[in-house]
Amino acid sequence: MTAKGAERAARLTAIVLALGLPVAALIARWAGWGAGRDSVIEIHGALAEAGGWAPADLTATVGEPLRLRLTSDDVMHGFAVGQSDWPAVDVAPGEVTETTITFNRPGKYVFYCTRWCGVNHWRMRGTIEVAGPTTSPAIESPPLYVTLGLDLDAPHPADVIPERRPSADRGAEPGATIPVEFSTGEYFRAHSPAEVWRALRASPASRELADAEVWDVVAFVWRSNSTPESLVEGKRIYAANCAACHGETGAGNGVMAASLASQLTAEFGHGATKPADFTDPAKMLGASPALLQGKIIRGGMGTGMPYWGPILTESQTWAVLSYLWTFVMD
């Protein structure tokens, strides 16, 4: 009798365990135990045509680590957060990349794909809304092209073109003292090389210089406003983000240019807008740094040029620009 009772108790225990454990696990999952503060967000990457990032809108809190598990549903993608120093990671199908990001400042960040996954690669973006104590109402100053009221879409041909390629090395030699008003950062950023050339030409300081020598001085002004480090940084950013369309040599004939044209034709009915040619002196010498920075920040609006405002920091845009002018000036 007792043996039978023990057997029945054992059987009951086994049944309760077999049924109860899975149910308990389900309840725990439903109740959200183990989630909470250090929850992990799983993000799937897909081609922009197939929906891009899912989810594409994240929220985070200042100072609290945002833990992400990244994977891809089709091809190789990359993940990076704009305006931040977190290193980009690769997101491969069939693999999970874990990354943890902590934000120091509140605001709206943009994350984006860093591997060329297709012609719509640059459309793979998402946002991270970072909430936090807004102790300092950081009023961001508008970009320079807004302050100056520049029209980014107006043509900007240079009215004077140098006969030979301007060289900063030669420009450093003549010993012509550059009037101090030309060497300030504000003046430099608001004026095109051609305008600086005209101003220098009219200045009594350059009376003894030939036209080509004045161009060399202009090249020297441009080099004085960049550093070797910013040129290296600009070259790196250019290679990673710009060269695919604008070409490694800056001639606007990058490997993606052809497919970009056919894609634009399909989307907008026009495909004539080619990537800008940075080796064209008429274009490059007629544009001020503020104008070109505006084009980078705002993007091309229907031309296939992405808007880089949420991705590149201000110093990064200046670094890219200082590299761009090396295509027409030494």
Binding site: S72, D74, V75, M76, A92, P93, G94, R115, W116, C117, G118, V119, H121, A239, A240, C242, A243, A244, C245, G247, E248, G254, V255, M256, S259
Partner: protein, 145 residues
Amino acid sequence: MTVALAATTIAFAPVPAATVTPVERHIRIEAKSFEYSPAVVTVNSGDRVTLELAATDVVHGLYLDGYDLNVTADPGQPARLTFIADRPGAFRFRCSVTCGPLHPFMIGKLNVGSNWLMLRAVGLAALGIVFVTQRCRGAGAQRNL
């Protein structure tokens, strides 16, 4: 007996030493829509080879079998791989980055020197055919007697 000796010779005879002096080679391989161009690269044994991989549509990679080398190139950022081709033979190279639906079929071939393994196999096969036909003929002759 003669056949066995011939087979051993074909299979194990030492390869004549390479007479060509190694050179520096720079080969640009373009990767686009699941194919490499050129897809077959031939070098001499001992050459110092630089493969420049240029992707022209999406990110591609190149993993070289036998040498265990890998390189990845995004459009606009050609990447280089330099190595000394000291292992003779034919080696496949394949895309190492999932680039799209036909990614598994994106392959190419690197030939280093003459493909002695292939030549030996052909030699042995020819010897086998000769041997079998001889025996058949011999058997037929015996039956006719």
